[in-house]
């Protein structure tokens, strides 16, 4: 693992900053930050799978939905304590991850992306017609037990979860496993030709991604206290996750987190000027321009700036040294 004290110091500073935020901002901003934290979790989950291995998932809400619905149904319909419902939801999501993994054994590229999109659509239809007495049908569920009360507590819960996930995924991806998963994204045949089982690697990526999505989905539903299929299996929600990961810098863990905060605040910043759907046009244009300017995302822009300010821009970047 390529760890430097500067990395850990930056993480520590970031954690301190995030923990101090409730002292300085309004409750409205905190609620925006809570959404950004959850979006960061979902974007990291997407990044572990798609950013690394190149298997672009258009069906991530499928996994998030399994986590959210399982935990909501268990707690609301079966009175299962929340501390058991969330692990059960994560396990169910990992089973969902295996289901999404199966097509990846045979197909890739746009075909895989379309199959995953079909998974999301299928889930959307199924929760409405199969046992609506459990799922709440088209109206979803409300009155789901919440973990916290108030914006400050909600913020601490979401930021702790997000930081724990981000740091552990960041550590994991700095090991040889992270290199191997990136290699799968670059040339799967060469990974096999290097003596590594790509099936094993992909399965691990799918399960890890599902684990994070399930955890995020379950905590999200217990933060909101409700679940609405139209909002969860919405194409805009899906694209927000993907754009957050791409705009921040795919395959970096830190990038998707950064992208999630950037997008959330961009939308909030635009709200007073463009309260309607027009702001999505501006948001899309900014995302597109940013992506065209630097396809490796915000993290690459910051990295370049950092190198320049250190006066070492000309120096070749050492392997694995990026932020």
């Amino acid at each position: 693992m390529n760890l430097r004290w500067t990395h850990l110091a930056m993480w520590l500073a970031f954690v301190c900053l995030m923990m101090a935020i409730p002292e300085f901002v309004s409750k409205g901003t905190l609620r925006t930050l809570i959404f950004a934290n959850f979006l960061a979790i979902f974007a990291i989950s997407w990044d572990v799978l798609s950013g690394r291995t190149g298997y672009i998932s258009f069906g991530h809400p499928f996994l998030i939905g399994i986590g959210a619905y399982t935990s909501a149904i268990l707690t609301k319909r079966f009175d299962v304590p929340i501390e058991y419902a969330i692990p059960a939801a994560v396990l169910m999501t990992m089973v969902g991850g295996i289901i999404v993994f199966l097509p990846a054994l045979r197909i890739k590229g746009s075909y895989f992306a379309l199959v995953t999109l079909a998974f999301m659509e299928l889930m959307y239809q199924l929760v409405q017609v199969i046992r609506p007495d459990l799922t709440g049908g088209t109206r979803g569920m409300s009155g789901v037990q919440t973990l916290t009360r108030g914006a400050v507590n909600g913020y601490y819960m979401s930021v702790s979860l997000m930081l724990a996930i981000a740091f552990s995924m960041w550590l994991l991806m700095r090991t040889q496993l992270g290199t191997a998963l990136s290699a799968v994204g670059m040339n799967e045949e060469s990974v096999r030709g290097s003596g590594l089982s790509t099936t094993k690697l992909k399965l691990f990526a799918f399960l890890t991604s599902a684990f994070v999505a399930g955890l995020g989905g379950a905590f999200y539903v217990h933060y909101l206290g409700s679940i609405a299929p139209r909002a969860l299996f919405d194409i805009n929600f899906l694209f927000t996750i993907i754009v957050a990961a791409l705009i921040g810098g795919a395959s970096t863990i830190i990038g998707p987190m950064l992208g999630a905060f950037f997008l959330t605040f961009l939308l909030e910043f635009l709200r007073p000027y463009l309260p309607g759907a027009e702001r999505y046009f501006i948001y899309g244009t900014i995302a597109l321009l940013l992506y065209m300017y630097e396809p490796k995302g915000l993290i690459a822009i910051i990295d370049k700036y950092w190198q320049r300010t250190r006066g070492t821009f000309a120096r070749k970047q050492e392997p694995g040294e990026s932020l």
Binding site: M1, L172, T175, Q176, L177, T179, A180, S182, A183, M186, N187, E189, S190, V191, R192, G193, S194, G195, L196, S197, K200, L201, F204, K316, Q317, E318, P319, G320
Partner: protein, 243 residues
């Protein structure tokens, strides 16, 4: 003595096309053998079957006496056989050392997480195939075709291979690069590596092989020393286009 690689009655059919037709060959340990034939003769298909990328229709493949026909590609590589490709397939966003690292990794998720990369061994392999220290942090996009061939060989060495299959290793190289790769192969032969080399560049192949096998339409048409095979009438008519 157990041969390094033994192929017996290998047949590969793609629908009605017989790409490998009852091919048998034996390569002794530390021997270097050339595999030649005209375009479409089935040389690369033989490589693909040895590596398990294509499953043979019938026949058997043994590596140091162990039947590998039912093994997966990673299992075969871990047993000691590895190949390079006509068109190099590097990991484009990784530098030279990281490319080599992938070849050195254990095929075990837990070990990948817990064991650190062996930087000194990566560097040792990179330098042994002729990379300069300044090249080690270069990405494949910054390398010449000769360097890309070296990188492929380095990643193959990193897997711990004992039998190396080189597919058109001289294709697209300058004269100077051919000389570099030739020197590298000669040095690896001295160190005990076993080779099966496919090349259309017969002049470059000659000094590198102990014997040559010629195939056409997937069938062996000649086998022997380089000069014997070159003078074989079947080879001349099929491969060299002369009677």
């Amino acid at each position: 003595m157990t041969p390094a690689l033994k192929i017996s009655n290998l047949v590969k059919k793609f629908g009605g096309l017989v790409a490998t037709n009852d091919l048998s060959l034996v390569i002794e340990d530390q021997q270097s053998v050339g595999l030649i034939g005209p375009n479409g003769a089935g040389k690369t298909t033989v490589f693909a079957q040895i590596m398990g990328e294509h499953r043979q229709t019938s026949g058997s493949i043994e590596l140091y006496g162990h039947e590998i026909s039912n093994d997966t590609t990673p299992e075969r590589i871990r047993r000691g056989v590895s190949r390079t490709y006509q068109v190099p397939r590097p990991f484009t966003d990784m530098n030279v050392l990281e490319n080599i690292r992938v070849g050195m990794m254990p095929n075990n998720i837990w070990k990948m997480i817990t064991s650190p990369p062996r930087h000194s061994r990566e560097t040792e392999i990179a330098l042994s195939v002729g990379f300069a220290k300044a090249d080690l942090t270069k990405t494949p996009g910054e390398l010449s075709m000769g360097d890309l061939r070296k990188l492929e060989m380095a990643r193959t060495i990193a897997t711990g291979t004992k039998v190396m299959l080189l597919d058109e290793v001289f294709a697209g190289l300058t004269v100077a690069e051919i000389a570099q790769i030739t020197t590298l192969i000669q040095s690896m032969r001295k160190d005990g590596m076993t080779f099966l080399i496919v090349s259309h560049d017969l002049k470059a192949l000659e000094p590198l092989v102990d014997s040559v096998i010629a195939i056409n339409y997937g069938r062996k048409i000649a086998e022997g020393s380089f000069s014997d095979v070159m003078n074989d009438s079947a080879v001349r008519s099929s491969y060299l286009g002369a009677a």
